[in-house]
Symmetry: C2
Subunit: 464 residues, 2 copies
């Protein structure tokens, strides 16, 4: 296997695009997702020229790749208007909708005029759903059959229309009158039973699992993942079949949501696009908001410190351990937060479980704090005894202060870090998006107060 960068492939394709034979050779073993990846590296006009040179079938497959999202709209501007209609027409319904979502509102009518009435009708239906819902990622190209059909009729239909459907592996059985979804059979089940059976007679008797069009796409992903489905049907409130969400869409969803989670956990807005494709100003915008919000709330640490100015003036040695104790609180808080966020996302715990978590995190935090406290205490004693640094005559009291403060701060960090995601979820926020940075601020400010309070209690009359 030779690994070639997408840029190189892109340049190669552009170089040979006007010689059909050379192009054919250059395409070689490339699959549609590879070509889509390469086209992203070209300016839209160059990408459009390559698209125009590709065999139509292949061009459609390439344009159908979710990898080309955010580029299709720019490329289409440069494609011969007469070719645009058939190209869009041949795309799968969910990708058509995705494309139109990217088209600026004032360009939409012009593009809609290029497709057939039935495509326009399907598009209008799909576009009414938000992109993060099951309706927003579903496709309308599924195989559905009336409930009075036999297995043989179903298999004949699949061999006729199979090539044009997003998946043929799940077949949806509906009431011939009301179009209500009655049953789902798998192609595997159809193939392993006698061909004259009625389709309602085969497979599981359970009511099919469904989602509504406004269900969060993450919930559709959870169902597909938990029940090992190849697709989940989307039904309206009369239980009529609107579309299906396939396992491919779900994988894309999982990867996207994961990216958003990591970025939000890092304390910023989700980018919604690859790092290298974001403009400089957009990048600043995505990051400055959260950074400023955190900065403004961290100003509370300065306010807290102002209250302790007298202590610092009298015992500057106290200031030395501020970063250490603060960061320990932050680290323990961030551990607890990441554990709880993930457990909430995986539905391992519910919001009502908060007190069970609190009862676990408090002792855990105390033990972890005690471990760090002992290390901190030892560090100061050893440095003093080995004459590495002179903490003054009250170094034992100082070491004790740092040790005790660590116990309190780490315990508080674990408790606050584990409880904040519950609180955020309770008041309607996404815990993944805001917990980590909030915990940091909360723990930093409280940590300072705990540290100086312990210092005051221990050192009062000696250093303070």
């Amino acid at each position: 296997m030779i690994e070639i960068s997408a840029e190189t492939v892109a340049q190669l394709l552009y170089l040979v695009h006007d010689d059909p034979e050379e192009l054919q050779e250059a395409l070689g073993e490339l699959r549609p997702p590879d070509i889509a990846e390469a086209l992203r590296e070209l300016p839209p006009d160059a990408a459009a020229k390559v698209m125009a040179a590709l065999p139509f079938e292949l061009a459609v497959q390439v344009f159908d790749e979710p990898e080309l999202t955010r580029h299709r709209c720019a490329i289409i501007q440069h494609i011969d208007p007469a070719r645009v209609g058939p190209l869009i027409e041949a795309m799968s319904a969910d990708q058509q909708a995705d494309l139109f979502r990217e088209v600026p509102a004032d360009n939409r009518p012009r593009l809609l005029a290029r497709v057939t009435d039935s495509t326009r009708a399907s598009l209008t239906k799909l576009l009414q759903y938000a992109p993060n819902t099951a309706g927003g990622i579903m496709t309308t190209e599924f195989v559905s059959i009336p409930s009075d059909w036999t297995v043989d009729q179903a298999l004949r239909l699949i061999s006729e229309v199979g090539g044009r459907k997003e998946t043929v592996y799940a077949i949806y059985v509906t009431d011939p009158e009301t179009h209500v979804l009655l049953h789902v059979v798998s192609l595997r089940e159809l193939l392993t039973v006698s061909r004259d059976e009625n389709v309602l007679e085969i497979g599981s008797r359970r009511a099919p699992l469904t989602v509504g069009p406004d269900t969060d796409r993450e919930e559709a992903a959870r169902l597909i993942s938990k029940y090992n489905l190849l697709a989940v049907p989307v039904v309206d409130d009369q239980h009529r079949l609107l579309g299906i969400v396939t396992v491919d869409d779900v994988i894309d969803t999982l990867v996207e949501e994961q990216t958003e989670d990591v970025q939000r956990f890092g304390g910023m807005e989700a980018l919604d696009a690859p790092y290298m494709e974001i403009g400089f100003l957009a990048m600043i915008q995505k990051r400055a908001g959260w950074l400023c919000a955190l900065f403004l709330s961290e100003m509370l640490t300065a306010t807290a410190m102002q209250r302790f100015q007298g202590e610092i003036e009298r015992a500057a040695v106290l200031a030395m351990f501020i970063p250490l104790v603060m960061s320990s609180g932050g680290n323990s808080g961030s551990q607890a937060t990441s554990l709880v966020i993930r457990a909430l996302a995986l539905q391992e715990m519910r919001i009502g479980d908060w007190w069970r978590i609190a009862l676990r995190e408090l002792p855990t935090g105390l033990v972890l704090g005690a471990i760090l406290g002992v290390i901190g205490f030892t560090r100061i004693m050893v440095w003093q005894d080995l004459h590495i640094f002179n903490y003054g005559p009250h170094y034992k009291a100082l070491a004790f202060t740092v040790g005790m403060a660590l116990v309190g701060i780490v315990a508080f960090g674990s408790l606050a870090g584990s409880m904040l995601p519950f609180l955020l979820k309770r008041i309607g926020f996404d815990p993944a998006s805001a917990s980590a940075p909030f915990v940091a601020t909360l723990v930093d400010v409280t940590g300072l107060v705990i540290y100086f309070s312990v210092a005051f209690l221990v050192l009062h009359g000696t250093l303070l």
Copy 2:
């Protein structure tokens, strides 16, 4: 839809398990993954009793659920030894291997003695691969056919053996002599062509995508996700077919890896089990290691502060802004790290791209730092002018110090945060697992040095 907790279902199932009719009714609409979820809530001996009461087919499906991992091994100890053999025998090959991975080494021979020779041979083969490789999650239950068969022969085979295979939607065509993998066809393709064609004649002419048994399971996931596959074949170095990794396994892999990433990003070892199922001591162990490592490295902040003790004694007001400037550096570093970790994981950037990222992060960091710097400067000036706090006669110089230090620290944070994942990857570490906490420490220590250096330059001769 009524949502019932897994605990309630578990208790219900246990209550009725010895009355077959009541059990049948209680099982109602429950699917195997639901029953698996419920069994996790029961003590192993109770779960074993419910398992024994289930119809055999259903018991096998429940035991086959990855959801029951980590519990199966304990449950099996309480199941009638005579029933254990057939139960394991009927599980799918990849779940058999998973089960045996959990069995303590000294119990394995006893359990292995209960299965047939062929199962034992397949297990021995699967168990040699590490659980995070393609070999470790693959199954050996695929449909493979010799290359001289017709479509009709292939379809007949599927209707016979289809029920017993993990997937029938991808069919693997091998050389009848050498067993080398030659071609992959989809069931959809088989159904939409004439039945007397040779199987090699249909579908794409491209060499099939494959992975080796030692390929990282994340790479198998990436291929399935990028090329929208239902399974990817695992081949040995002679290109002989060993097994397949299915899309179901890949979804489980994605979710697991996501959990590990979030936990490692939070600065701890991955738990490898749900939060509520980890014992107190195990939890301390998973968290104390990283917490101590971070604490020890954060001690460098105390060392750095010791060098500036003189400055703090002369100007205690400087100490007030330490938490603020440190946390800003940490926040900008954590933004940059999370962006780069994710982009590396999605292969949006390669290790050789580091300098492009550096060239973006430095100006981004400078602008972000300037924004925070202006806010910080204004804060001090306003507080002083409004007499909220008295920063002393040199408050303008102090405000300027804080502002300039913020520019330097945020720029350094962005740069260090974006470069560290590259460095860790270069020296062979997983960037996701270690970057975030390392960045925090690095930025904290450097931040202090930058802050006091700026202070020295600006305030020398006045405050210092």
